[in-house]
Amino acid sequence: MSRAVGRNVVRKDGAAKASGRARYVDDLTRPGLLYARTIRSSIPCGEITRLRLAFDASGFTVVDARDIPGRNVVSLITDDQPCLADRQIRHMAEPILLLAHEDRERLLGAAVEVDYLPATPVLDAERSDRVFKHVAITKGDVDEGFRRADRVIEGEYRTGHQEHLYIEPNGMLAVPENGGVTVWGSLQCPYYVHRALAVLLGLPDDKVRVVQAETGGGFGGKEEYPSMIAGHACLLALKSGRPVKLVYDRVEDMLATTKRHPAIVRHRTGVARDGRLTAMDIDVLMDGGAYCTLSPVVLSRGCLHATGPYRCDHVRVGGRVVMTNTPPNGAFRGFGAPQTLFAIDVHMDRIAEALGMDPARLRELNALRPGDTTATGQVLGRDAAALDVLRAAVARGDYRRKRRAYRGTNRGIGLSLFFHGAGFTGSGEVKLQSKASLELTATGVRVLVASTEIGQGQRTAHAQIVADALGLPYDAVEVAVADTSQVPDSGPTVASRTTMVVGGLLKQGAAEMRTMLGHLTPAAYLRAHGPLVVTKQYEPPPGLVWDDETYRGSAYGSYGWACDVIEVERDPVTEEIRPIRVTTAQEIGKAIFPLGARGQIEGGTAQGLGYALTEEVVMRGGAMANAQLTNYIVPTTLDTPPMDVVLVEKPYAHGPYGAKGVGEMPFDGVAPAVVNAIRSLGIDLRQIPATPERVMAAPRIRDSRLRQAADRPASARQAGFGIRKR
């Protein structure tokens, strides 16, 4: 029997999606259905003084904060975000009031007047004194590291908001039933929604059921925000006693839901004459928006990736994420790492420039190798593949020759080297205690996990792992819908953990089930012994230790490693930068579903090109001013260049069949490679997106400056630096 792992099997969700049979939340309906709408704040900061329904309220269900039976919070990390604003407004488009009606037109026509007492908003993260979370990482003695430096290079790098732009906007259907409520929705994390609903509605766990509807993409945007929408739909459903559907249109989705955290990252780096890094002093500031949401963890991951995949004995990373009166920022593919990896890898090209070194050579010299320690003191195993991917991408992308050949033309080529920790940060996986189950069926086995298929291939990869571990054909494995009344809590579908962590539990469970089956077929076993369900719970691999207080230890179970080589062409009239070729080498342990892995890499790269070049969230007065597909410029197919993807496999000892995570890493390195390619054209850009307006305004690097860049002699070093006010 041919094995499933490593083969391009037929996707479990493929036929239904390709034929249109797959049912998304807006396809679902129920008798007596009400449609719902959210009334939102039109100021960024202040108090509600008066609220009036300026419409005929017959047939309407109206819900405000007083209707909440449980606690008025979207339960997550700190429980600071209300499900409905009671009096205080902390950002534009904050939910205030909910309306439901069976006639959509009456719903859209209903006018609600809200009076406010406005207060002065904080819209600039650098001016905010309200900190959600600090992170400090220390290795060695950074002052000693600077004493050993021949040169000190400084720089500040800025990244903007980014909108997820999943193809399906957010939506939920809530149905009151069995003395509780059931919701079907577009979501990544059924148990996050489950917990938030139990807290909001004051219901016991068994009266809340959450089912994933077929979901049209997530990218992190459906990690935490669906808890808010599900809460709104449930409040209306419970008050009206009828099914309620709440589906956002694109504008509302862009205006109200989370974005990627904007960041300002400052580097001060000591380097020896030969290019070795002697000291890294890094300061990270992230804009969390109005409520805490997942910001502490985003900051944490950002800081843990801030050194890039580089070895250095003396490191200090200080980070903070602050409150501003803008819609809360949240989870987005990469989760803090893209911001800091952008900064370090543009900074590395500036260091190379200052030393007159080849950027690839500088990275080769400093890349983390097996046996090296990271900034948190984690000793890397044999699967640390930075050098492998660097050499593969540099050779395959013909980086060195093209860099010389393009000099003086409008073509540029840039490089980035990056890594991504798979799974939850630090002790997160231990706290999650994820479970995964397998249920024997007459014809095979059913996978019972709370992991969600969001287009990434979860059902397929899980089925492949189970098929091979159990010795059954791929077609004998079915994957249950993520329904909290049927599946155990496998943790959220985030953090590149679904294949590596949950897939790992499934492999263990399948191996155990195989032993129990012996030589019996599933049907024979069921006849002889009755039903069989095997459940496995996460246990950390031996030696994986992390201290949340000191930020010391193993930040992640494993890291993937990758290198991008990106070529661009500059239009000398318009300053538009067009990507013309991407070569990427990505080490992911083992490609369980190679076509899916390539899809993740190509898709993540395309999304990264948008982040790097065109996707600018224009914020005016605390709200997104270009919340339309017309004006938020996501790349089209015509803007996406050919991509040459090289898969590198260095098995991770504790991943199923050696697999690590692959979902997020492909996004991480695109922006720095693009900006380094622009830099090779003599344009000194340190902020993304690299819009033509920014490229036009950016300082030009004159040849005489190429060798000294904007550095300062080591003698002028400071003991450290704080945040400077602009």
């Binding site: 709408r37 037109e105 009456r106 859209l108 026509g109 249109d249 694109r250 504008v251 509302e252 009239v573 318009t574 300053e575 538009e576 065109t614 224009v618 005016r620 001013a625 270009n626 339309q628 597909l629 017309t630 004006n631 410029i633 790349p635 089209t636 015509l638 803007d639 033509p692 307006e693 036009m696 305004a697």
Partner: protein, 273 residues
């Protein structure tokens, strides 16, 4: 938020005459055809108009024909039809070029030349072509037909000489002598809105028009004069800066638009030499 549809009024005439009567007797009505911009406003909740006249079915307003020296496009001619037309490609290649860069295939199938004129966006991609080609806009009322030079059509931002009881029925292009040039500077390779757009004709007296650099599409006649009088490109670029008045908006900046307009002028002048 999306505009509620049910309070809106839509009239559906069976003929142009019927439409003109409705405009006169039952106005004000906003004519709608391809709706490629109207639906954006509808979805964004910014649509001000409440009463509409659906002229999409009026086939009298379709078609491309050559009458002697005049190329005539019915107001409902779509960009897809323009792109396919050998007459347009031969006589007015800059209009074919502009049409290929409007939206993408779906928009080109629905969007109409008359709609582009009526909508009056300063970023309308076809409009600089009309300005540079000295097109005439045909306006019909219930009892009259008049032709207005396109360059006199707009009176301000999204304001025109069209009376509320008139319909744009056609646009006519005299024969254009000289080398035609068009360039759109958008935001991506398709589905983009112009940051700066330029159409021009290289003749003894050059004709040059820009979009997205002023409240309406503009013919820059003083710049044309300077070039016709033998000024250098640098001098013409200086004159151009006085003739345009771009703004900062969510798509671009004043500085960028000014600089790119100047560079486009130089590019036009050098490639059509």
């Amino acid at each position: 938020m999306r505009t509620a549809i049910s309070p809106l009024v839509m009239r559906q005439p069976r003929s142009v005459r019927d439409a003109l009567r409705m405009l006169r007797d039952d106005g004000p009505l906003t004519p709608m055809a391809g709706c490629t911009d109207l639906y954006v406003g509808l979805n964004f909740g910014t649509l001000g108009d409440r009463r509409f006249l659906d002229i999409w079915g009026l086939d009298e307003l379709r078609g491309i024909e050559v009458r002697g020296d005049v190329l005539r496009l019915g107001a409902l001619t779509t960009y897809a039809e323009i792109i396919r037309s050998a007459d347009v490609r031969r006589r007015l290649p800059m209009l074919a070029a502009a049409s290929r860069e409007i939206g993408a295939v779906q928009i080109q199938n629905r969007g109409t030349i008359g709609g582009n004129i009526a909508n009056g966006s300063p970023a309308g991609d076809a409009l600089p072509v009309l300005a540079a080609a000295d097109a005439l806009v045909e306006l019909r009322g219930i009892e009259w037909t008049r032709r207005v030079p396109f360059t006199d059509f707009y009176t301000g931002y999204r304001a025109s000489v069209r009376r509320p009881d008139e319909l744009i029925t056609a646009v006519e292009f005299p024969r254009v002598a000289g080398r035609q040039w068009f360039r759109k500077v958008g935001t991506r390779a398709a589905q983009s809105i112009s940051k700066v757009v330029m159409a021009a004709v290289r003749a003894d007296r050059p004709r040059i028009a820009f979009g997205s650099v002023a409240p309406t599409v503009v013919r820059v006649r003083r710049t044309e004069d300077a070039l016709a009088a033998g000024a250098s490109v640098e001098e013409a670029q200086r004159v151009l800066q006085e003739e345009i008045s771009p703004i900062d908006d969510i798509r671009s900046t004043v500085a960028y638009r000014r600089e790119v307009a100047a560079r486009l002028l130089a590019q036009f002048w050098s490639v059509t030499r």
